[in-house]
Symmetry: C2
Subunit: 677 residues, 2 copies
C-alpha cells in the first residue's frame, strides 16, 4: 500500500503536433496537409472564372485496404512502406463539381474529373452563411419583415435548409432554401420561426432565385424559449450532487497519435468532415491466443436522414441528409469539459478544410474517457454447494469515445463504447432544439385539422420527423473473408407425441449468399444476425463471429415511391451487407444534396453481388420516429438509442473470466474542495 | 471555496432498526412482525398433523390503496390513521394450501381459506434442500451413480426443478424434480450435469415418487468450468484501472426508513419474498407547480417465465416461473461492495420468512447509488447567432436501486433508475451460469441432429431458452384516474397534388376503452404508448402522461395451445392494461407452481373490463430469446435489457432546464492510496 500521486487536471492531447513521418495511413489530414491540398488544387484551378474555386469537401482518400493491413500488421513498420497519403477533394469550379485526388508525397494531382450526374457535394459553412445573409439586402424580404409583419429586422436571423428533390425532370441548379427567425429576446432562434416566407438561393450565383411570401402566422413568444442559465429565473433546481472521479493510475488508456489502446482493445480514431468520428482497425487482445485479433476494419455514420412530416409549402422539402449535406465533422462542436464529458476525460482537437481550403480547427472535438457506471461485468452466487457459498463478481468498465455534431437545431451525441468483454456498443443521443413552426393556435382545443406536429406552447408546433442513422461497419472478424449468417429462431411443433411438450423453438442457420439475401427488417422475424469467419472455428468447431444486437429499430413510414424515400432507400431495410468496395462509402450516395436516388446503397445492392466468404461490409440503420412533447421545450432531454456488436463464439470462453479487478482507491479526508464549474 | 470534509467510507443502512410505530404502510414485514405472524399462525394450526405447518410465503398484505393514499398525502400524519398492517400467508398444512390474513395490530387472524383450485404456492428453501438430499439415501440412485456411472457419490450434489404442467387431467400432487451434478474439481455444478436420471419428489410426503434412469451420457469435464479467481491459472487479464468516486456532500440522497428521496424524486423501496424489490409512491417534484406529483403507485417484477426449448424426457418440463415458484426476494443474494455496486453505494438488508416462519435476513440485499456515467442530460451549441456562440450543456446523473436474485444458475440484476428529467428506466441484467446438458459429442462436426442448444465445450450443450419478465406498473399519473392511449403513426398519401410530397406520417390517437383494446405486441406497428390523465391537461391543453418506451421486445415462439404457454399466457402480448384490482398482483397467477393457466393476466382480461379514466395497471413484458455462445462459458458476461417510463406532456416544459449543475470537485494530490479489494 503506497501513496500514489495522481493526476487530477483535465488531460488535453492534440493531433496537430504529429509530424507527417509518423502518421498512420488512416490519420485524418493534418492542418499542413490540408494547406498543401489547398495550394496544389488552387494552382490547378487558377484560371480566371466568374465562379470561384470552392472546397466543398476535403478528406483523406481511403488508402487501399490491402496496403493498410499490410502496413498495420507488419512486424517492422520500417520495412513496409505505408500506402501513399492522398486527399480526396470535392470542389466547385465554374459551376461544376470536380472530384480531385491529390497525392501529398508527390504534391501532385493524381486524378480529376467532373461529376456529370445528379446531386451536389456538401455545403460549406461559408456559403451557408452568405446565403442566410442575402435576404437582408433584398427589398421584398425587408418589406415582408418590416412592413407586412412589423418586426424589427435587426432581430431577424436566417439559416439555410437543403431543398431535396421532388421529381423535377430538369437538371437542377445548386440551390438552398433560407428560413428566418426572430430573436428579440431569445437566443433560441428555432423556437421563433417567421412563417410564410420561402426563399430559394442559387448557391453558385449566390442570388435569390425565388421568393414567396404566402401566409402570415404569429411568431411564437420569446418568453421561456432561452435555455441559457443566465436567462433563467427562479425557482431553480434540482441541485446536483458534486462528484469527483479519481484515477490514481492516470486516465487508464493510452493515446499514441490517433491510436488508442485500453485494456484489451486497440483502435484508431479518425475524423472526417463528412462523417465525423471513424473507428478503424479495432482489435482485441486474446490472452489465450496471445495476440490481438481483428474485429472492425472501419466503422462510422455513413448517412443521417431526417425527413419532416409536413406536406405544406414551407416544410415539405425538409428531408435532410445531415452527413452528405452538412457534414458530421464540419458540424462537430467543441465539447465542454465537466459537462459534455466527465472529469476523467481526455480531449482531442480536429481539423477540416474551410471553403477556401484552409484548415479549420475544432477544439475538443473528441473526448475519450473510462466510464465507471457501477454496472456488473459478470457475477454468480452459488448457494447449492454443501459446505460453502461461492460468490464471484466483477465490476464493469467501458471506454467511451464521444463526438457531438450540432446540425442546426439538433445535437447528435455520437458514442463508441468498448467493453473488456469484447462488445462494441454504438450509442446515439439526440438533444438540442426541436424544429418548430409558428401557428395561430394558442390552445390544443382550437385545433381541428392536422398540424403535422405536436403543439408545445402557444403558437408553437414541433414538426413530426424521423432520424435514420446508417452505420457503415466493415467488420473483419479475424480476417477479411467473412460471411453473414442469419440464425432464425423457428417454432417446431411436436406432433408425434414423443414429448409432453407441443412445441419448442430451434435455430436454423442461413448464410446469405448474395446481397439481396442480406436485406433485413429486424422487427419482422426473430433471428440472430452475425458476421462470421467461415474459415476459422473454435476448438469445438463453432464458427467465430460477431453478432449485431439491434436496439429498438424503426422502419420508414414514407411510401417507397416518394422522392425522399427513393433518395434515402438505404432505410428500406435495417440491415444490408455488401462486398467491400472502396467507392461505396456513404449509404445515401456520394452527392446527396439534391440527389435523385440513382446512387445509394439500395441501388448498389441490386447488382446482387456475392457476399459469402468475402470481405464484406455490414450497414445498419438506427431509426427514431419523433413525436415531440412539451418536456422537449425549449431544449430536449437526451433521447438515446443504439446497438451492440458482441462476440459470438469469437473467443473460446468468457474473455473476462480472468480479468484483474481494479484496486480499491482509498481517499483521505480533507483532500477535496468544490468550486462552481 | 471551502474545504469540505467528505464521507469516504461505504454507507450501510439497515431497515431492521425501525420501530413499528414509525412504519410506512407499505414497509415490508419487519423481523419482529414476521415472528409475530409465525406465532399467531402456529397457534391456529397447532393440532397434531402428519403434515407439518410450513410457511410457503409470508408478505405484507397490500393495504387498501385508498387508505395508503389518504395517509401518504395527508398534511399531518398524526391525524390520519395508517391502514392496519396485515400479513398475507400462503401456508401448507395437512396437505392443503391455506391462505391466511393476519392482522398485526390486533394479533389475530382476519381470514383463512383453503385453496381448492390447481397450483401450489412458492417452494421454500428448506423443502428444496430436503428434496435435493433425498436421492442420497435412495438405493437405485446410489446404483445409478456408483455402479452404473462409476462416479464418486460424495462429489455429487443435486438441485430441484419445478415440474410444470403438461395436460394431466388428474389432480396433481405437489411435486418437484431433482437433477444432480458432479463437482469433483469444480464449484460450478451447472456445467457438470449428470444426465439420464429423472426423479420426482412428492414434497408433502418428502419421498421419491418416481425414479427413472434412462440413458448414460458423459459428464462434461471439470477443467475450465470454475469461475472463482482462486481457481484460475495464468495468463490473467485485462487489468482494470483503479477509480475512486468522491462525493464531498455525501451519497446525494436520503434514506428515511424505506423512503428514499433524491433531487426531485421521492419513492418507497419495499421488499417481498416473491417479487423482490417494490417501488411505490414514486413522485417527482415539479418546481413550477411547487409540489410533488404522482407517477407510479407501485412497480415490481410480477413474474418471470423461463421456458427451455428441449422436448426430451429430461428437459421438456423446464418451464420455470421464477417469481411464483422460487421467489425473487427469497433468492435475493448479498451484494458485494465495490463489485456489485460502486464505492458510493449505500446498502440495505432485507428479511423474509423461512419455512418455519422465522425471519431470514439477507444482508446487503439492496444497494442504492448515484450513477455518474458521464452522459449528457441536455445540450445545445448555437452557432447561428450573429455575434456570439451559445453553448449550454448539463451533465446527467441517475439514481440506481439494485437487487440481484440468483435463481439456481441464473443471476438477475434488477435495476430501477431514476432520472432528474422524470424518466424511470427499468433495467434487467442476465448473468450467472447457463443451464447445460451433457452430450456424447466432443466437436460440432459430429452433430447431425437437433441438440436443442448451443455446443459450448466438449460434452456440453447449453439449452436454448427464453426469459420473459413481466412488470406490474400501477402508474398513477397525477392521480388514479388514468387512460391508456396508443398514438399510432400512420402513413398518409398525398393524392391531390397539394404537395410535391407523396406521403408523410401523422398520428392517430386511440384511447383503449376496455382491456382487449390494450393488448399489444409492440413490434407489430409503430405507435407510442402512454398512460395519461384524461382529467388534467397542460396549460396549452395536452393531456399529461407518461410514455412506455419498450426496449427490444421478444414475443413467445411456443404455440398458443402448448401447456407452458397456456400457463404463461401473459407473454402473448408485451403490453396489457387492467383496472386496478388488489387481488391481481402476479401476471402468472397466484399459485403458479403446477398451475393450469386458469388464473393469470390473459384470463383476467377476458372479462374485458372498462379501463378508460379508471385506476389502471400497465403490465409490460421484457423478453429475451437466448441462443448461448462460448463467451458465456463458464460464466456469462451480463446481457442487458430494459424499458423506460418517460414523461410526455407531464411537465409544462423541460423539467431539468433549470437544474443546478454540480460543483466541480478539486482533488489535492497525495490524497489516495490503492489497495486490493
Amino acid at each position: 500500500m503506497a501513496k500514489l500521486l495522481f493526476i487530477f487536471s483535465i488531460f488535453f492531447f492534440s493531433f496537430s503536433s504529429i509530424s507527417s513521418q509518423n502518421l498512420h495511413p488512416l490519420d485524418p489530414l493534418t492542418p499542413s496537409e490540408i494547406t498543401l491540398v489547398q495550394t496544389i488544387v488552387r494552382k490547378e484551378y487558377s484560371s480566371p472564372s466568374k465562379y470561384n474555386l470552392t472546397f466543398q469537401y476535403v478528406g483523406l482518400d481511403d488508402p487501399e485496404k490491402s496496403s493498410v493491413l499490410k502496413w498495420q500488421y507488419s512486424r517492422s513498420k520500417t520495412l513496409v512502406h505505408p500506402p501513399p497519403r492522398q486527399a480526396l477533394v470535392h470542389a466547385r469550379f465554374d459551376k461544376q463539381t470536380i472530384e480531385i485526388i491529390v497525392d501529398l508525397s508527390t504534391r501532385s494531382i493524381v486524378s480529376k474529373q467532373v461529376h456529370r450526374g445528379h446531386g451536389f457535394p456538401m455545403f460549406t459553412d461559408e456559403e451557408q452563411t452568405m446565403a442566410s445573409e442575402l435576404p437582408f439586402s433584398f427589398g421584398p424580404f425587408k418589406d415582408s419583415i418590416i412592413k407586412k409583419r412589423g418586426l424589427n429586422i435587426s432581430e431577424v436571423v436566417c439559416s439555410t435548409l437543403s431543398t431535396g428533390w421532388f421529381g423535377e425532370v430538369k437538371r437542377s441548379d445548386r440551390v438552398i432554401k433560407v428560413q428566418c427567425f426572430y430573436l428579440n429576446g431569445t437566443t433560441n432562434l428555432y423556437l421563433r420561426p417567421i412563417e410564410g416566407i420561402t426563399m430559394v438561393i442559387n448557391l453558385d450565383d449566390m442570388k435569390i432565385a425565388d421568393y414567396q411570401d404566402r401566409i402570415r402566422v404569429p411568431v411564437p413568444k420569446a418568453e421561456g424559449t432561452d435555455f441559457q442559465m443566465s436567462e433563467q429565473r427562479p425557482p431553480f433546481g434540482p441541485r446536483l450532487n458534486s462528484v469527483g472521479i479519481v484515477t490514481p493510475g492516470g486516465p487508464g488508456f493510452k493515446v499514441d497519435g490517433h491510436t488508442i489502446s485500453w485494456l484489451n482493445w486497440a483502435f484508431h480514431l479518425g475524423f472526417d468532415a463528412r462523417v465525423g468520428p471513424i473507428i478503424s482497425l479495432a482489435s482485441i487482445y486474446d490472452s489465450e491466443k496471445h495476440k490481438y485479433r481483428r474485429v472492425l476494419y472501419r466503422g462510422y455514420v455513413s448517412e443521417l436522414f431526417v425527413p419532416y412530416m409536413d406536406p405544406t409549402d414551407e416544410v415539405y422539402f425538409r428531408t435532410f441528409f445531415d452527413c452528405g449535406e452538412d457534414g458530421f465533422g464540419q458540424t462537430a462542436v467543441s465539447l465542454e469539459p465537466l459537462a459534455d464529458c466527465p472529469s476523467n476525460a481526455v480531449f482531442m482537437d480536429a481539423y477540416y478544410a474551410g471553403q477556401d481550403g484552409s484548415p479549420v480547427k475544432v477544439s475538443n472535438a473528441f473526448c475519450v474517457f473510462e466510464q465507471h457506471a457501477g454496472n456488473i461485468m459478470w457475477r454468480h452466487t452459488e448457494s447449492g454447494l454443501p459446505d460453502q457459498e461461492v460468490r464471484e463478481v466483477r465490476a464493469d468498465v467501458s471506454l467511451i469515445v464521444r463526438m457531438v455534431a450540432t446540425v442546426g437545431n439538433y445535437d447528435y451525441i455520437l458514442d463508441w463504447e468498448f467493453k473488456p468483454s469484447g462488445s462494441i456498443k454504438i450509442g446515439v443521443g439526440l438533444t438540442g432544439v426541436l424544429a418548430t413552426k409558428g401557428s395561430a393556435y394558442t390552445h390544443v382545443d382550437q385545433i381541428k385539422e392536422d398540424v403535422y406536429g405536436a403543439f408545445l406552447a402557444e403558437n408553437t408546433v414541433a414538426i413530426h420527423h424521423d432520424h435514420f442513422l446508417n452505420y457503415y461497419l466493415d467488420l473483419d472478424v479475424d480476417g477479411e473473408a467473412n460471411s453473414f449468417v442469419k440464425t432464425n429462431l423457428v417454432t417446431k411443433r411436436v406432433t408425434d407425441h414423443s414429448s409432453p411438450r407441443k412445441s419448442y423453438w430451434t435455430v436454423e442457420r442461413e448464410t446469405a449468399r448474395t446481397e439481396l439475401d442480406a436485406r433485413i427488417q429486424v422487427a419482422l422475424k426473430p433471428s440472430e444476425l452475425a458476421v462470421i469467419n467461415p474459415n476459422k472455428r473454435t476448438k469445438v468447431g463453432n464458427n467465430i463471429g460477431y453478432r449485431l444486437i439491434p436496439g429498438s429499430a424503426a422502419s420508414p413510414l414514407l411510401v417507397n415511391d416518394d422522392y425522399p424515400q427513393i433518395r434515402a432507400a438505404f432505410t428500406n431495410y435495417n440491415v444490408w451487407v455488401t462486398p467491400y468496395n472502396k467507392s461505396e462509402k456513404w449509404a445515401g450516395g456520394k452527392y446527396v444534396s439534391q440527389s435523385r436516388g440513382d446512387d445509394n446503397l439500395a441501388v448498389w445492392t441490386l447488382r446482387n453481388r456475392k457476399i459469402e466468404n468475402k470481405d464484406i461490409v455490414l450497414w445498419y440503420t438506427i431509426g427514431f420516429h419523433h413525436v415531440p412533447c412539451q418536456e422537449e421545450f425549449p431544449v430536449m432531454p437526451t433521447l438515446s438509442g443504439g446497438f451492440e456488436l458482441r462476440p459470438v463464439n469469437f473467443f473460446e470462453r468468457n474473455p473476462v473470466l480472468k480479468v484483474i479487478p481494479a484496486k480499491h482507491v482509498n481517499l483521505f479526508s480533507n483532500c477535496t474542495t468544490t468550486t462552481n464549474p
